[in-house]
């Protein structure tokens, strides 16, 4: 790895990008073990960074991703595709025995990405992932999973993502529980600029292009097995589609931030609003977006794409 590891941090070289489905199976086993050890878990994250070299965008998968999310099929890898490509490295950190939270049932609450240097499909990449920011939350414990993507032999980070997860109902010793947040500002839906009609196959389709076969996204039956009333859309599907719809104005280098609120139970209609703002010279600076349910009026997600 080109970036020097912090002192006392072990770097674990993975032979290849791990398979998410295998991690999920392992996670189910691990969950049982952690359940038995509950209370014995320390409030500390693994002092390790997982590193994978020789990672390359797969043209077929990237094309399928672009088709599904409505991205033009250019050779530059979409920011959301890089998330799908590199995130298994972070999952392998969460699947470690010394990771203090159960992998299954964690809720994706926020995702921040900085896409700094364009990644093209034949580029050879290195991926580094680690966990940081373990913190108490009024509803459980949250943690950030950091993933950095570099071009092989280049110290500069091309793509950096921080995915924040919440382990609902899990409270670790020694972590302060912040006082309950004040009531969230009432969401008043603006006029929509777009409407998504999401069929029940949406979760399976995104699973196929992202490799994220978490059962809560695949079918009503598999979702019910995990306590959901119906399957839900991947948060990253909604965020990536909003990113695609912000369009070409965002250029090649941008920051993309999304907070996930109410889950999107499938099938669903989702109203989207994208509001662009420009700088003093009239050039695009930022697009704020929000998605909500036209029936309940509840907000599903809110975020922005901004110039870097």
């Amino acid at each position: 790895m080109s970036a020097a590891p912090a002192r006392g941090i072990e770097t674990v070289e993975l032979p290849e990008m791990p398979s998410l489905s295998r991690l999920y199976v392992g996670a189910a086993r691990e969950a049982a073990k952690k359940l038995m050890k509950k209370g014995a878990m320390r409030a500390a994250l693994p002092a390790a960074r997982h590193h994978v070299i020789g990672v390359r965008p797969d043209l077929g998968k990237m094309t399928a991703y672009q088709s599904l999310l409505g991205e033009t099929k250019l050779d530059i890898a979409p920011a959301g595709y890089l998330h799908a490509l590199a995130f298994p490295a972070a999952m392998s950190v969460m699947a470690r025995e010394d990771f203090p939270l159960p992998l299954l049932g964690m809720v994706h609450v926020r995702n921040k990405v900085e896409y700094r240097l364009p990644v093209l499909y034949p580029d050879l990449l290195e991926v580094t992932a680690w966990a940081e920011g373990l913190a108490g939350h009024r509803a459980g414990t949250q943690v950030g999973l950091v993933v950095e993507v570099r071009h092989a032999g280049n110290d500069d980070v091309a793509w950096r993502g921080v995915s924040t997860y919440l382990a609902r109902g899990v409270f670790l010793p020694g972590l302060d529980k912040p006082s309950p947040a004040g009531p969230r500002g009432e969401f008043r839906a603006p006029l929509p600029t777009a409407l998504w009609r999401l069929g029940s196959e949406t979760g399976r389709e995104y699973a196929a292009v992202s490799g994220d076969f978490n059962p809560i996204h695949l079918s009503s039956i598999s979702a019910r097995a995990l306590g959901m009333r119906r399957s839900i859309a991947h948060g990253m599907y909604t965020a990536s589609r909003a990113l695609a719809e912000v369009g070409a104005q965002k250029g090649d280098a941008f920051a993309w931030d999304v907070t996930f609120e109410a889950p999107v139970f499938l099938p669903a209609r989702v109203c989207l609003n994208i509001a662009d703002s420009v700088d003093d010279h009239g050039a695009w600076e930022r697009s704020n977006f929000a998605g909500w349910s036209p029936t309940s009026g509840r907000r599903h997600f809110v975020g922005s794409v901004g110039r870097l």
Binding site: P192, A194, E245
Partner: protein
Amino acid sequence: MSTLRNAVVVGGNRIPFARANGPYAMSSNLDMLTAALDGLVARFGLQDERIGEVAAGAVLKHSRDFNLTREAVLGSSLSPETPAYDVQQACATGLETVLSLSDKIKLGRIESAIAGGADSASDAPIVVSEGLRQAVLELNRAKTLQQKLRAVSKIRPRDVAPVAPGTNEPRTGLSMGEHQALTTAQWKITREAQDELALASHRNLAEAYERGFFDDLLTPYRGLTRDGNLRADTSLEKLASLKTVFGRQLGDRATMTAGNSTPLTDGASTVLLASEDWAASHDLPILARIVDGEAAAVDFVHGKDGLLMAPVFAVSRLLGRLGLTFEDFDYFEFHEAFAGTVLSHLAAWEDEEFCRERLGLDGALGKVDRAKLNVNGSSLAAGHPFAATGGRIVASLAKQLHERGEVNGRPARGLISVCAAGGLGVAAVLEAR
């Protein structure tokens, strides 16, 4: 521009417009365009005539319609040596063919031209699902039996269901009606104002038929002699009784009904354009001169402007270039995609702030005299076979201008605007001859 010669409208011909899945259900774009073209040929004695160029188009197009206009020429009694090409600019297709062909005439490249368009919402192209299409394409590329089997194995039962075309905007997923519902609410256009505009459209069209205005603009087809959508006996009460169909998420702000929106329609139209010399040498009338035209587009994707608001900009730029104001016009032919569209345009032109900030004017562009608006009816009554609407409007306006002749010592003048999908809009100015 003063150095260019004139391009003039000789006349037009269309078939009556029919509501979708009605009398023209079994007629294709090609059938209808050929029928309209043959009527034009018969009216102006153009059998075996080699026309400079024919341009037409369709919005809902089959892959087999790839050379639609040339095929229509070959199926007509025009000389088979008449060149032709297709144009597609959504609902502005018809008006764009008129403008581009008249430019060629003005430049001296051609002496005569036929502009037109056809659209069938009944004979719409049905496509196979994306899953089946990809599997069949892969099967086509497969070389070995194994590859072929792999391709076939990818077909899922749900892939077999056919897919009909929608009117949804590709980038927003909102239908045109839903887009307009947002614009209508934004400009605070009332249900009553929309219903009144729809009523005027039906009344004006019915009166135009009564006085025989369309006798030399129309050729009966498939038993229709008048536009099938025309409701001469409609009333404000009847229009007020209709349920809202678009913008329901706006709750009590929803105002758009089937009565103040255009229905899906089948039909075709043509316009004969020429240089003055060509018209004279063929002993043909000259109805009007094509003065100028302007296309505009709006950034509707994230709602900066409404989807159908581009004519507001096209008209403003066109009037600016010609040094004209609304006072200088005797007729306004504003395509009624929805009553709310026309009324939103009128509201924008009367809005000082909008005109200053968005159109770059000193103040409001002005008020359109409603007595001069769509005097022979428009799309709400006649229907709107997308690509055929421009030809209908140009031929009708040219005839109306010719009948009016002079106003205050100048030729009668008319302004056309047509909105279109994709945030497009086209405007044109015609003068009586």
